[in-house]
Point group: C2
Chain length 414, copies 2
Amino acid sequence: MTPDALARAAWSRLTEPGDVVAGALVASLGADEALGWLRDARATLAAGGTVAPEGSGDAGRRLGAAAARWVTRLGSCDPRRDLDHLARLGGILLVPGDPGWPAGLADLGPAAPACLWVRGTAGLGGLTGGGVALIGARACTPYGEHVTGELASGLADAGRTVVSGGAYGIDAVAHRVALASGGRTVAFLAGGVDRPYPAGNARLLAAIADGGGACVSEVPPGSVPSRTRFLQRNRLIAAAACATVVVEAAWRSGALSTAGHAAGLLRPVGAVPGPVTSAASAGCHRLLREGAAVCVTDVGEVLELVDAPGAPAPTAPAGRAHRDADDRPDLGGLDDAARRTFDALPARGATTVDALVRVAGLPLAEVAAALGALELAGLAGHGSGRWRRIRPAPEPGPTRANRTPAGPEAPGSG
Amino acid sequence: MTPDALARAAWSRLTEPGDVVAGALVASLGADEALGWLRDARATLAAGGTVAPEGSGDAGRRLGAAAARWVTRLGSCDPRRDLDHLARLGGILLVPGDPGWPAGLADLGPAAPACLWVRGTAGLGGLTGGGVALIGARACTPYGEHVTGELASGLADAGRTVVSGGAYGIDAVAHRVALASGGRTVAFLAGGVDRPYPAGNARLLAAIADGGGACVSEVPPGSVPSRTRFLQRNRLIAAAACATVVVEAAWRSGALSTAGHAAGLLRPVGAVPGPVTSAASAGCHRLLREGAAVCVTDVGEVLELVDAPGAPAPTAPAGRAHRDADDRPDLGGLDDAARRTFDALPARGATTVDALVRVAGLPLAEVAAALGALELAGLAGHGSGRWRRIRPAPEPGPTRANRTPAGPEAPGSG
């Protein structure tokens, strides 16, 4: 244990997560020297002095106020005891510069954690670096659970770590399905890693740590998960993963704070749409309305988010290349005259070229050329000087529930 | 009937919808003179001549090719017969400059229709000007029908005309609910107004025309609805309405062409999200992914689209101001120290100020001030020198199905 690591363990006890004054002080003096400064400051304060001398400006006043906060815990701060506790749990402490430290946390600047208390794999950086955060409501719906399962299993198949917050609902499904799919998953906790929270997820959190993943916290063992710690924990999820996807979230939801952190860190953010009748999707729709997230509907689109942060070129995935109730042949490769001529052919029976010229409103030469093209494409045929449509065999492929109620003659709607 | 109106009726018979060469010719010569030019051109063509003399360039060649198309229908073109037919139906012809002409169509430039054949109210411009197009799949789901009904009835209540395409599915629900809500609705048809299409909607289309709305077409009575006419009809919906909302649409859908027209005309476009498991919402999600539409989830958001094309400031509508499973009191008005102090108060029982200083990690002065603020807010109370939380009565309001499974102590997720 280096003095730096020991001092960082102390700082994680003295401060609340996201304390940028502490982060700046540690960055400027080093963790150990900053701790010495704080001990001196305590003596000064105890003697009725001030650590922010007049004329030291706003920064000095902020430092003085922060020191007054930090010293309230200095008496009960014992990093060796915390580290012993962690060692008994089989955990390890990670500090910046360790090979396993998640590189993405550097983007947090002075708000980066002083250290991470980890149960599970020490190579946290490798785990989370290409990972995707799947987050959302604890009070999720069966729809949200279903979509989370699809995404988590797809991410596992793609070799991507699933990062989440260990909560009930979307978080739990994300972790559980990633594990069940043979993938890796990391849970960032708001309380100490010795305090599985919520208690109902204790077995899941143990399985994550034992299954090649990790349970991680920036607060030392024994710390309770408080509201502010939950909100600060969200920034770690956003920073450690390379993209964040909100699967379900109410209009006001902690998941939106994670999405906001991710956007602030220039990480791509995805939101899964859902029924507008579902309150559990209102937060996702809010992100989409505000332009704060990209609409993602399957794991392929989540991976596009990761691989190409720019606007993705949409392609019709397999099973989706259907149209509204339109089982007409694909005229995509034909020119306008051929389409008009095809439209002019009667749905049933045959017609003359003269009639086609009039109905299509095209000169004979164009109609003749169009009929040739349609015949080559297998869409029209003739006999006895009359032309008719040829209906192609239906394309193979998945049929979904959007078959037409309007019959095969119904042209495109809307 | 002016010579201009008569000639425009003829042009709508001679051309296919969206013929920009005809539109440019009519705009440049006037409809009547352009018709005279075409008659001369027919004689020239019949005599083996050419109407695009060498050296007349691309425009001339395009005009010559177009004239060769138009003359194929000149022999069977009889606008007086078409107008008599319309009069027997109780319909009227609208041409640009008429008081009832929809102003938005001017944005189509040379692709604007030569005239409109209307059954129903002659004041079409007033009807459609502030109207909103609700469009989507014929093969819609019960979810799509429900949302369409909500939007159509809300638009009717807001005095907005519902514009659509008279098709089965989303279109039919939009028209029907607008009528049932006492609102006005306009159907743009791809075929002649004497040919209710689809036949199953004949009664609905008649009710639209009789109910203060209108059924409208740019092709004369007797014209069949062809594929190209459906696609061109979509531009009229997009141009006549002041915003377009796609409620449900498959990955490939005519509704997306209407949305594309609307975007091209700088009209706001909305898309209603749905379950990612529903193929009928794939086209809406595609629009959202491409940034081609704004996510809209209720009629309020549709009206925002109309009234403020810029990014709307989101506000939690009534009934939506809930959070993920969080029945903690609202600490929104309190500062960070008060929030931390509240978090430090035990969920049950009471604690000392010294313990609060240590747990919250705040100086005594800040904890004391925070406790004062919490007491004023009715969130904390004290007795015998110990402080406790006071749980406020639950707020009245709609309860939805997203109550917490985690119990009242569960802090914010995600």
